[in-house]
């Protein structure tokens, strides 16, 4: 806006006027220039230079020199301490460090020494520049960013005329085949990349390794659970027993993790939930239907399940429907029963896809 200085170059000054200057209405209340006064204030120019202490007295300059030298000295000294500490301090040693408490001081010593070394270097240089190097401000002229018209003309000419000598304009066969030749071969590079990135999902996202008769086992011990061990208010973090035979443990776990809870059957509001459970013991997928974090926070009094990532809240008494947060779908329930030895087993796999939504989950 403010090109009030000496106009420089022919393009810059009031270039804005070429757009609709008539459309801009000067407000009448704002007085611009009358009675021989200029429309704008004049730029007063650079203020007079104020000398620094070190410019005026050699003593101050000497002091500044000493300060700079001290800072540089600290840099060397801290580096030497760093090197000594690197070799002599035991990384396993613990000691009381003020402000941190009981700690391994190794990292602290190295960090502080390195920090001081670098700071000494940097602050010395800056202090030197500030106190002893010239502090008279310099003025550099600007020139308009655009090239001169002649240069532009030459560039265009070069492009059109010299480029024209390739005869590309006159030989459409070359033009079109070149376009194809440039556009298509990159596909040959992209295709192996994209094609090799990974397998197609097929229906894998909808399946877990839970099968009928799989025992529910504790995570991480992988021991089976008897129904009578699950007391009211308990929560068990559960995996399928066949995770032991899995070749893709983490991948299978990421879909098959289950939370097992026991509620008083009288407070369960969903009939399906009671049917799919066993005597108030219910098993739900632990993978959030929002973006897949493990929903592990079970409040045994309110029977709410909370996801620690985005706070989706599920009500276990109402078939884990969402009562708060960004998730939409309830957590899928795993139907369970008890086998002949009294251990909890899956009655079937999940009846729907677990985890975050995807387009074709339907």
């Amino acid at each position: 806006m403010s090109d009030n200085g000496t106009p420089h170059g022919e393009v810059v000054s009031h270039g804005g006027d070429d757009f609709g200057s008539d459309a801009v209405r000067l407000d009448q209340g704002h007085i611009e220039g009358s009675g021989g006064l200029p429309a704008r204030f004049e730029n007063p120019g650079l203020p007079p230079h104020v000398a620094r202490m070190s410019d005026l007295s050699e003593k101050a300059a000497k002091r500044a020199e000493k300060q700079v030298a001290t800072l540089f000295g600290i840099a060397s000294l801290a580096t030497i301490v760093f090197i000594i500490a690197y070799f002599t301090v035991d990384p396993e040693m613990t000691a009381f460090v003020p402000g941190i408490g009981e700690a391994n001081p190794y990292n602290v010593i190295l960090g502080v020494c390195l920090g001081l070394a670098l700071l000494g270097c940097g602050m010395g240089a800056v202090h030197w520049a500030k106190t002893l190097m010239p502090d008279t401000e310099m003025v550099e002229e600007r020139h308009p960013q655009r090239a001169s018209d002649a240069d532009r003309q030459r560039a265009v000419d070069n492009f059109l005329q010299e480029g024209g000598k390739s005869q590309i304009g006159r030989r459409p066969l070359i033009k079109f085949s070149l376009a194809g030749a440039l556009a298509l071969p990159p596909l040959a590079l992209v295709l192996p990349l994209v094609g090799g990135l990974g397998p197609l999902p097929k229906d894998n996202l909808s399946k877990t390794i839970w099968k009928k008769g799989d025992r529910l086992v504790r995570d991480p011990e992988l021991t089976p659970i008897k129904a009578d061990q699950v007391t009211i208010g308990s929560v068990y973090h559960v995996l399928p027993a066949n995770i032991k035979e899995s070749h893709e443990v983490l991948e299978d776990k990421a879909k098959a993790a289950v939370l097992l809870m026991r509620l008083d059957p009288s407070i369960i509001k969903s009939k399906k939930e009671i049917d799919w459970g066993y005597d108030g013991i219910v098993a739900y997928s632990k993978i959030c239907t929002h973006v897949g974090c493990p929903v592990g926070l079970y409040e045994q009094q309110t029977h709410h399940l909370l996801c620690p990532c985005h706070q989706s809240t599920f009500d276990v008494t109402e078939d884990c429907k969402v009562i708060f947060g960004p998730a939409k779908r309830p957590l899928p329930q795993l139907p369970i029963e008890v086998d002949s030895e009294g251990y909890l087993v899956a009655r079937s796999g999940f009846h729907e896809a677990v985890g975050p939504s995807f387009w074709e989950r339907g």
């Binding site: 804005g16 009448q28 500030k130 960013q145 990421a254 929002h290 974090c293 387009w359």
Partner: protein
């Protein structure tokens, strides 16, 4: 050159003797430098570069902090690659950290533990790398804010603003990739969520997920792939774009704040040699030193405490690093009803809006802003003098409103920690932030604009009536007034060196034959936007106004500086009796 190559002397015959005798300084550094210049001709550009002038202001150092943090990341990152093993292969830990002995984990996690505990100084470098990364994005964000609020993105720097936006967005991705590499419980949970984000893409979601992870989550491919992206692909693009970014700064020369002696056609400051070389060079060491100090004293990302990634456990307070906080916060605020099923397909807008769309949309809007503003103002001039934020009330207010929106999202990402530390209900916080996302920016816009206009009027008042001296004068006829001291021309110039745009008026919407102009609709939008921007602007004091204020003491109205035909009453900003002209 010589055509008689018979002996060595003959070869030399064509050599030119130096045209001017060497100066003593020339002799001193002439040897090696001359050898180089003989082969590169670099003396001319280097000589020019050393004379280049940079203006001094603390806010101009923010970009430098970002640049230096990036360099620190490159240096420390190179160190880390010597030990880090980008593999998800499972191994049993047997290192020196007892609480993890015998635990199965990925090689990536084990090697990160080794860097932390078994390589001397490794933990320090890891912490330097991570702290510098956080500082990098903090500094570049604040640098962007400085550029935005001072209007440094205007012609001819729009391109550089766009490059900066791309750099900033890539920095987020680079940061997230790095955060995910150690394969600890926290970063794995982040990847777990990222997989959920990908699935929310309509039609292609599950394919994208399978292609990125090479099969079902987590798989063994994501760590090496992210590693290649983190240490090779993105750094190459970042460094390349950054080189262009800084190159354009050299081409454009740095902007400067308005002030006495500073015009749109000059740069006032200190030359690279010696002042800026020492200051900027020294500042690199200062930034590095501060990062090293912080890394020595403050833990960051204690991956050993999180444990290895396992899809079953999770930790309370699962958050991404701060720069991804706003996207995570958006996911926490978006309501579940945005997911629905139609035609047998699932539309997960509750996830997609925050996780897939938010970042590109935000950066696109940011990148487009200079062009929007240029269209509204119709201004095609080059701008090298910065705006004081108060002198662009609408832009400043828009910026603060956008920042508020961003802030609400970022706070939302910490809603669980706010709940425990402030003893509030997480549900209440979420509800309040949902409302605040829409309400707070409006309030922020209004308040900021009022503050800017008030500050402008204060400046006008100061120019017109000078500083209050605190001296009370009694005139002969018993009147009291406080003496005001006129500003000196240098101080005054700081306050009056700005232009005010006037709202664009619509040209005739139809020609004399009643045919509507083909651009009428666009013009109307533009005029409306222009009014929105400039309707209540406060123009700078002119010499005539200052003279009027001095002459008759009726200058108060001029403080408002509002068009006379406006029905808004003039703000009575000063009740003082103006001093008689000496």
């Amino acid at each position: 050159m010589s055509s008689t190559p018979y002996d060595a002397d003959g070869l030399r015959r064509g050599d030119k003797a130096p045209e001017t005798p060497y100066s003593p300084g020339m002799k001193k550094i002439g040897g090696v430098a001359g050898w180089l210049d003989d082969r590169t001709g670099a003396a001319k550009p280097i000589g020019y570069l050393m004379k280049k002038v940079f203006p001094d202001h603390w806010s101009f150092m923010l970009g430098e902090v970002a640049m230096y943090s990036m360099i620190i990341c490159l240096l420390s990152g190179t160190f880390l690659t010597f030990w880090f093993v980008p593999s998800a292969g499972q191994v049993v830990y047997d290192g020196s950290y007892v609480p993890l002995k015998g635990i199965t984990m990925s090689e990536a996690y084990r090697s990160t533990l080794d860097i932390s505990f078994d390589i001397r100084g490794g933990l320090l470098i890891r912490q330097i790398h991570h702290w510098a990364a956080l500082l990098f994005i903090v500094a570049l964000s604040v640098h962007m804010l400085r550029v935005f609020f001072t209007g440094a993105f205007r012609k001819p720097r729009e391109l550089n603003w766009v490059i900066g936006c791309i750099l900033s967005m890539l920095a987020l991705v680079e940061g997230f990739a790095g955060y995910s590499l150690p394969d600890d419980l926290l970063s794995g949970t982040g990847l777990r969520a990222a997989e959920g984000f990908m699935r929310s893409v309509p039609v292609l979601g599950s394919y994208i997920s399978y292609f990125v992870f090479n099969g079902p989550f987590p798989g063994e491919s994501i760590i090496p792939r992210l590693y290649s992206v983190h240490v090779l692909l993105l750094p190459a693009i970042l460094v390349g774009l950054f080189t262009v970014h800084i190159g354009l700064v050299f081409v454009h020369k740095h902007t400067q704040y308005p002030g006495p002696g500073r015009t749109n056609n000059n740069v006032v400051g200190f030359p690279v040699m010696p002042v800026y070389a020492a200051k900027a060079g020294g500042f690199f060491f200062i930034v590095f030193g501060v990062v090293a100090l912080i890394s020595g004293l403050v833990t960051i990302n204690p991956i050993w405490a999180y444990g290895p990634y396992d899809p079953s456990p999770v930790t309370a307070g699962s958050q991404p690093d701060w720069y991804m906080g706003f996207a995570d916060g958006a996911l926490r605020l978006l309501p579940g009803w945005l997911e629905f099923e139609a035609f047998g397909f699932t539309f997960s807008f509750n996830v997609m809006i925050g996780a897939i769309l938010l970042i590109p949309v935000m950066y696109t809007l940011m990148a487009l802003y200079p062009f929007l503003e240029a269209w509204v103002t119709g201004d095609k001039r080059e701008h090298h003098l910065l705006d004081r934020p108060r002198n662009r009330p609408t832009r400043t207010a828009l910026g603060v409103a956008a920042l508020t929106m961003y802030g609400v999202l970022m706070f939302a990402a910490g809603n669980d920690l706010m709940a425990i530390k402030l003893h509030l209900s997480i549900n209440d916080i979420t509800h309040i932030l949902r409302a605040a996302f829409f309400i707070a920016p409006v309030i922020a816009f209004w308040v900021t604009k009022r503050i800017c206009l008030s500050l402008q009027r204060k400046d006008r008042d100061l120019v017109l009536h000078g500083r209050e001296t605190g001296r009370i004068i009694r005139t002969a006829d018993g009147k009291f007034f406080e003496q005001h001291e006129p500003l000196d021309p240098y101080a005054r110039w700081n306050l009056v060196d700005y232009d005010t745009d006037q709202p664009l008026q619509l040209e005739a919407p139809a020609d004399e034959n009643g045919v509507a102009s083909p651009t009428a609709r666009k013009d109307r939008v533009r005029a409306a936007l222009s009014r929105f921007y400039f309707d209540d602007s406060v123009p700078a004091v002119t010499p005539a106004e200052l003279a009027a204020a001095h002459h008759d003491g009726h200058g108060h109205e001029a403080i408002e500086g509002a068009p006379a035909d406006e029905d808004r009453p003039a703000l009575e900003s000063s009740r003082r009796e103006a001093p008689p002209r000496p």
